[in-house]
């Protein structure tokens, strides 16, 4: 074998070599140093970005890493997020309009998602007539402006056709996860409007980089221990 271990190894496909590869890889991985301070900062950034105020305050106390902003500024974002997660869409929109009055004029797609969620809440409470009126008054305009939303709108309105929307094929819209999705979208938009460094947490960015790097290696057909379960940090057995 020549220099540059990995590349030459990939040419030989025998089982022994794969094990050797994995060992070498994990060995080198173990040698990589990530300073604690870096990890702490990543966690803090995640907490602040996602709006976990209390957790951020505690973490600040326990780890000593500074949040670098006044955590009370998070209150606005947190209130909006909480409102959305509780299904109180009118309140959420009102709060958002107080915080950033130009946002929904400039980002009609975001507005659509908020209004869509309002519609979903009406459907959830089986206020069918109100739902139809709401759809006609507000969502029709969204559909006219942007054809992208038509498909999503169709799915939402389709819920009304079912006796029991919770068991329809579109029931995912009624889940709490959907509220969560809208809340995240709003959160990101607010961060952008506040000229934050990034609307995404750096932790998310790092993971994206990991996924991308793995995809690049796959394209070049390099064999390596692939991390398949990001949340658990588990590697796949290279077969």
């Amino acid at each position: 074998m020549g220099e540059g271990g990995l590349r030459d190894i990939s040419l030989n496909q025998s089982r022994d070599d794969s094990d050797l590869l994995e060992l070498m890889w994990m060995d080198q991985l173990a040698k990589v140093q990530v300073p604690r301070q870096t990890l702490n900062k990543l966690v803090m950034n995640y907490l602040v970005t996602e709006g976990f105020k209390e957790a951020a305050e505690r973490f600040q106390e326990e780890s000593g890493v500074s949040a670098e902003i006044d955590l009370n500024l998070l209150d606005n974002r947190i209130n909006i997020r909480d409102a959305i997660q509780a299904g109180k869409m009118d309140e959420a929109i009102s709060l958002l309009n107080d915080l950033h009055p130009t946002l929904l004029d400039e980002n009609r797609y975001l507005l659509f998602h908020l209004q869509q969620q309002s519609l979903i809440e009406l459907i959830r409470e089986q206020r069918v007539e109100e739902a139809l009126e709401f759809a006609g008054n507000h969502l029709a305009e969204r559909g006219e402006e942007d054809s992208k939303v038509l498909q999503e709108l169709e799915r939402t309105l389709a819920l009304l056709a079912f006796e029991d929307p919770f068991s329809s094929p579109f029931s995912d819209l009624l889940s709490h996860t959907h509220r969560q999705q809208v809340a995240s979208e709003v959160n990101e938009a607010i961060l952008k409007a506040e000229h934050a460094d990034s609307a995404q947490s750096k932790l998310a960015a790092s993971l994206k980089l990991l996924i991308w790097a793995q995809e690049e290696l796959d394209k070049k057909k390099v064999r390596y221990p692939r991390m398949t379960d990001l949340a658990a940090g588990k590697f796949q057995d290279p077969k």
Partner: protein, 675 residues
């Protein structure tokens, strides 16, 4: 109920509460209204239609209303301005702008900021003129004082000032109001949006304003220099838009001549602009980068040469001419609104294609202005020449203008004139532009300059141009008010007459007329006079019988012209031209009589032979030489006459002249003497 001068019916809508006597109910109604209209174009229009603007204005103006409510009202106005041109106009008509400007001096920071942001929205519309911010000097200085309050404020003020900076006067007003320091402070912001807005503002303020450029050059704030910031922002770690604006500012300042090039332009600004022209960049950036680049290198041949070999610039720019927007899927069954949107999109793309072509022609015009090698490379690059020629007939004036400029630069190439321009009938569209009464002065000027080049004798298109009425056209130009046009007219005629046939020379004289010749000789522009004399010299050149024909028709007037110039207050250069003309007349056969029989002219010749300027002396001697040329009929008589008046004595005196050229001519003349 009447509010202001608008009659408003009590609305039967949900907005009754806006008129409620209880302030809490009003506050709730305002909040509700705000939530209703944000995001909905229809609602904005409805509010305006229902005449609620007057009530809202009232709420702002009344002193007892809670600032929180006022803030909401201001935000409502901001939102309404984002509706349509119509709703924006209604705001303007309701006097909202003035009120918001007054609102800026409020002590409530939230309200003030809301006013700022709404003003930015309102001025975005074409319907509202931003001139109003100059109506009171306090407004500008107050805007500047608001900048440090927050990032949003700095961004808003920068946007307002950028929009409002439309003329030299504006630039100077802003300069003297303390803008330099304020902008410098904003440039220290860590927020990219603020950095970009500040840079855009600065670019607007230094464009073609040497005085402003000087001031900004030496500005600093909080220990950091403005120039330091700008150079920093050309770095590649920043967004493309920021790099572009920084490069633009440096380009403008450099063109104003406020700093010497020591590597900043060649190694930072120019490469940056070239890079931002590439396909990967957004179209708006490509256009701006190209236009800026064209301006940067416009008058500097070294920069042109560097640019021509930078990063495939020529290929990249040529690709501007072939740009097409991304293919879009056509959705079936589109609503009216969607149809409108699509139409808007298509119009926008057509405009972008046009802007790209203009920018490309500007770059090419600058690149090929001074260097023949570059011109050659350009004409070999597809589809440059055919695009330029095609664009001469474009429906858009600006595109035509940019193509003419490009053509003008290219027409300075002898090789091109002899070859390519024959293959492509460039002269046709040019003649069209020149003969159209609707053409702008600028177009006519550049087109006529180009035509002058095309009329040089070795140009194969010369004949065709003549056939389509070039002489009349050029003569017409000599009568124009604009001196540059007159110059081009006479220059064109001069080029046309060089080495040309008798019929052309006659045509010129007939069409121009001797009266016009005299007018041109008395022109206030010295260049016009010089070129007219040049024209006359050309007419009196080449073959003897040309000279004789012309002098037989216009001899008297031509002699009058010579005398006129020689007796005028003009410089030596001009008089030299007149003497050369005389020498040409002396070259003919029958025309010699005109001089020899003219006592006054002979006297003048004698005095010029003894003039202290050697060029004038030489010209006079050459004239004498032509008169006494031995081989020509009547030479003896002429020599005798000249001897009588002492010309040969003077020649003998001049034998010992210091100037070698003069000495040689004197020798040649004396050699002609048969005695």
């Amino acid at each position: 109920m009447v509010c202001g001068n608008m009659e408003v019916e009590v609305p039967r809508s949900t907005w009754d509460k806006l008129y409620d006597p209880q302030p809490e109910k009003v506050a709730i109604a305002v909040k509700s209204l705000k939530n209703c209209i944000i995001g909905s174009k229809k609602q904005k229009e409805q509010i305006v239609e229902q005449g609620l603007l007057a009530r809202l204005v009232n709420l702002l103006v009344e002193p007892d209303i809670n600032p929180r409510v006022k803030t909401n009202v201001v935000q409502i106005f901001g939102s309404i301005s984002k509706g349509s041109e119509l709703t924006a106009k209604s705001l303007s008509d309701a006097g909202v702008v003035k009120i918001l400007l007054n609102g800026l001096v409020n002590t409530e920071p939230q309200l003030t900021e809301a006013c700022l942001l709404s003003l930015v929205s309102i001025f975005d519309s074409k319907e509202t003129s931003i001139e109003v911010i100059y109506s009171d000097p306090a407004i500008i200085s107050h805007l500047l004082s608001l900048m440090p309050h927050s990032t949003n404020s700095s961004v808003a003020v920068c946007r307002l000032l950028t929009k409002g900076c439309e003329s030299l006067d504006h630039q100077n007003i802003l300069l003297n109001s303390g803008t330099p320091k304020s902008i410098c402070e904003v440039l220290s912001s860590p927020v990219p949006v603020a950095q970009l807005c500040a840079l855009q503002c600065l670019a607007a303020m230094v464009y073609k304003n040497e005085n402003a450029a000087h001031v900004y050059l030496s500005t600093s704030a909080q220990g950091k220099s403005l120039m330091g910031h700008i150079v920093f922002y050309t770095g590649r770690e920043h967004q493309e838009e920021i790099q572009l604006e920084a490069s633009r500012i440096l380009t403008y300042m450099y063109r104003c001549g406020v700093f010497e090039e020591d590597g900043l332009i060649v190694f930072q600004v120019l490469p940056c602009l070239v890079r931002l022209c590439k396909k990967e960049e957004r179209v708006v950036n490509r256009i701006l980068a190209a236009e800026t680049l064209a301006y940067l290198i416009e008058i500097d041949v070294e920069l042109q040469q560097i640019a021509a070999i930078s990063n495939h610039l020529i290929c990249t720019t040529a690709s501007f001419l072939r740009w097409e927007p991304d293919h879009r899927q056509k959705a079936s069954g589109m609503s009216r609104v969607q149809m409108n949107k699509l139409t808007q999109q298509l119009e926008k793309e057509a405009d972008q294609a046009k802007q790209l072509r203009k920018a490309a022609f500007h770059v090419f015009a600058s690149l090929s202005a001074n260097d023949e090698e570059i011109r050659k490379r350009l004409i070999e690059t597809e589809p440059v020449v055919q695009s330029v020629v095609g664009a001469l007939q474009d429906s858009d004036e600006d595109v035509v203008m940019s193509a003419i400029r490009c053509l003008h630069s290219l027409s300075r190439s002898v090789q091109l004139l002899r070859t390519t321009f024959q293959d492509h009938t460039v002269w046709e569209p040019l003649m069209k532009i020149l003969s159209s009464p609707a053409s702008k002065v600028e177009s006519v000027l550049v087109a006529s300059s180009t035509l002058c080049n095309l009329l040089l004798d070795f140009s194969p298109s010369k004949e065709k141009i003549l056939d389509s009425g070039a002489v009349e056209l050029l003569c017409e130009l000599t009568r124009k008010y604009d001196p540059s046009l007159r110059l081009n007219g006479v220059w064109g005629l001069m080029n046309l007459s060089f080495n040309s046939e008798q019929r052309i020379k006659s045509q010129i004289m007939t069409t121009l007329g001797t009266d016009q010749v005299f007018r041109l000789l008395s022109d206030t522009e010295i260049q016009v006079v010089m070129k007219t004399l040049g024209l006359l010299r050309n007419l009196l050149s080449n073959e003897k019988h040309h000279i004789d024909t012309i002098t037989s028709l216009y001899g008297k007037q031509l002699m009058q012209a010579v005398v006129f110039i020689l007796e005028s207050e003009n410089s030596h250069e001009v008089k030299e031209q007149a003497l050369c003309m005389l020498a040409n007349i002396a070259n003919g056969d029958t025309s010699k009589k005109l001089i020899v029989d003219n006592e006054d002219v002979l006297k003048k010749l004698k005095s010029y032979m003894l003039h202290n300027n050697t060029n004038l002396q030489t010209a006079a001697v050459v004239c004498i030489q032509n008169l006494i040329w031995r081989e020509e009929e009547g030479s003896c008589d002429r020599q005798a006459k000249l001897k009588d008046i002492g010309v040969f004595n003077i020649l003998n005196q001049l034998k010992t002249a210091e100037d070698s050229v003069l000495k040689e001519k004197v020798k040649m003349a004396l050699d002609q003497a048969s005695m």
